[in-house]
Amino acid sequence: MRDISRRKFIAAAVPLAAAPLVAGPLVSGLLGNTAFGKSPSAPAALTLSDQARQRIQKHNLPNIPLITHEGKQVLFYDDLVKDKAVSLNFFYGNCDEVCPRVMANLAAVQKLLGRQVGRDIFMYSFTLKPEEDTLDVLRHHREMYHAGPGWTFLTAKPDDIEKLRKAIGFSYPEPAIDKDKTQHIGNIRYGNEPLMLWSACPGMAHAKWIAETLEWMVHPEQNRIQAS
């Protein structure tokens, strides 16, 4: 009741939004409003598979510039996800509810995955509050969660963080809730970029299960059975 009543109150009381909810354009003339702009036609030489991969890249994996906790400039698509298996999530420094649980879980996942992290799978945590979370804050949190070399913390310009957040599906359909950072989405997005395998799991799920889920991205050819 605790958080639902607050959520409902906020949702009911403040239905405003910086980004208006797109309730659904119907007429093709209205449709130039995708966040990703008009796309050029894919060259005919590309296979269906290549076209599909480009489409995902264009719509969901924007090549925005980010800065790592080490102060290194990177591009989201080119440097972080292209040709890799990855986990992606958002957090912020002074978040006292969901983030500590998710980040502690990720620390446990990192431990369970061992040497695979940074070699077969790359973990990325993005700050939701780039205005507040300086590189020092990111580094402090990395230390707090014993993040190893395969787990990178990143920041970017606020607009770019917003673009990334929406592109990789960390947003709500209700604008008021979407704006409320205390309700931010605690999922872990996972994927294998070249194989176009993408899904997500709750960051608050059991670490062992999250680790197993991430391993499917490294070894998707694995079967799984469990006796009852």
């Binding site: 403040v14 239905p15 354009p25 093709s28 899904s199 709750p202 050819e221």
Partner: protein, 669 residues
Amino acid sequence: MYYNVFGEKVSKKRYKEMCAAAKNRRELIAAGLTSRRELFRMGLLTAGGVLIAKKGLSAQTVLTAGQNVNGTSVKTNNPPSSGQNMSPGTNQNCVPGNQTASPATRPFIQPLPIMPVAKTVSSLSPAPTENPNTAAGEVRAAPFQAPLIDSSRFPVVPGVLYQFNQRQFTTSFSPDLPNQTIWGFDDGTGTRSPGPTYQAFYGKPQLTRNINSLPSITEKNNTGFGMASVTTHLHNAHNPSESDGNPCDFYTNGHFCDQYYPNVLAGFNSDFAPNGDINEALSTLWYHDHRVDFTSQNTYKGLVGFYCLFNQFDTGDENTGFRLPSFPQFDIPLTFADKVFDPESGQLVFDLFNLDGILGDKFLVNGAIQPFFEVSPRRYRFRLLDTGPSRFYEFFLTGNIGGTGSPTTNPFFLIGTDGNLIPVPIQVNSVRIGPAERVDVVIDFTHLAGQTVYLENRINQINGQGPVAVDSQLFSQSEPVNTECTQVLGPTTPAVKPAGAGDLVLQFRVTGPKVKDNSLPPSQQKFYSLPSTVATPRVVRTFKFDRLNGQWSINGQFMDCNTFRFTVQQNSVEHWLLTNLTGDWTHPVHIHLEEHQILSRNRAAPTVPVDQGRKDVTQLHPNERVELFFRFRDWLGKYPIHCHNVVHEDHAMMALWHVEPTGDNVLVP
């Protein structure tokens, strides 16, 4: 007495306010009014930022259609009426945010595909074995249960065998779109999606070898979505767990699973031995991929099909038994699916990064976009299945589209809910179904000879949350549902659009030859009785469907293949309370193994026809508490409960449980 979703008593006044506030919000969002300035200008927002709770407020009465307060076009889900549209039903529905519209396609230019009846095979090589044949590449969790109960009735190699290969293949959804590379089932006669329709019979156990012959996952030839490791669930079958198609048992290319379908009535190995309870007879089932975390993608990519189960009453022959229209000539399975196509390439696309639910702007019936079906002026049985991923439908039979005068609404008969025949057919104007639900209906075209009528979806849905204003009118009948909300909001609500303003999904041309009709009129039919629900439950369990920081949850926990949350005692009665804490979301909740009956919605007996039959999916509306009656019989093992908005399911709104000889008493699993 009025209750909020937590089961706490609230005043009538407060309850009305809750209903009104929820409706107001939905209408404002539907009308595209989300900015503070617009709301303030309309007097809907106080200076303190609080939305005014004004009874009966409707943004749509304030605004003229298609205009917002600034006189510019509003992005709403109310398309131009197809009654005034030369090409009805095209590009009508909403396109979810962040998504472009599919290319235009012409409606009603291709005939309705009818899935062929699945072909049996005379033998399987290697022969099925009681224990999983891992050496040959089988991936199965446990030995077959049925032969262990009675090997003479249920031989390890039963008399009816199928071999289904799941394959990638190329097909066309519309002549206006390029060919599509998707996944389907091949019974030996070629790959298709939806897969071939099983024609199964009670008393004839059967076995399907489900072989994964999809392209290897690691070949880098994915078409953009889909996980080529699979597990095929037979939805609503009273089946042993090892053959159920559990989401956590999946296998990749080159492997197979032998699935044993005993085709036996619930109770056969318990309170109704040896043949089971005839009142638990199942008719319309379906099979679909259930791979954990990837079910939405894999079913969207084509891995669905029908399984029709017959017996001595529901015979498939209109001259015998209940005398329902004969299968397969006049008994037609219909799969409904909504999909999106890339505006540039015309290729099928899937929003991989969505957490809420996915809506398509193209409506497919049996794998064709808006087909037509030529029928004879007689009675037909249709088995309607919503394959999702996330769309709800309210189907009306609409006539006089594009003619002079208004479109007409033609009644028909509801005969089954979730594939289970109801005690007596009920005449209705519409049926509402959500993802994974089925309804069986009988339509009599006799008096429509020469006319063109449509199956029209009139429900208003703008995103994965579910229908707009679901609390106001659950089921559009001649008499509106008598709830407090309908009294507050009036019986006509934006949840259901007027005739001709919805999506024309399927066209019936009643131009076929006059043929003999030996089926019995539904008004004279009587089917099975409902099993008794008076037994005292051994335990009453509560399941809260919620969203915690964007994470879909059941009782605050998440799907985990390694965790079984509770144990049901074999051959016992339980009540399950499903509550919905997710303000505006509707969750179609599915429970494997046993179907259920709805004892109450918000403590009142169910009133709408689809709630009164036997169910395996129950729509859990916003701020609802639904109480279900279960008898868990005969089989042992592991099964899930989950939301069947498959996007929610894939994001962990699922829990595993066991049936064992001794159960536990975990009340909030």
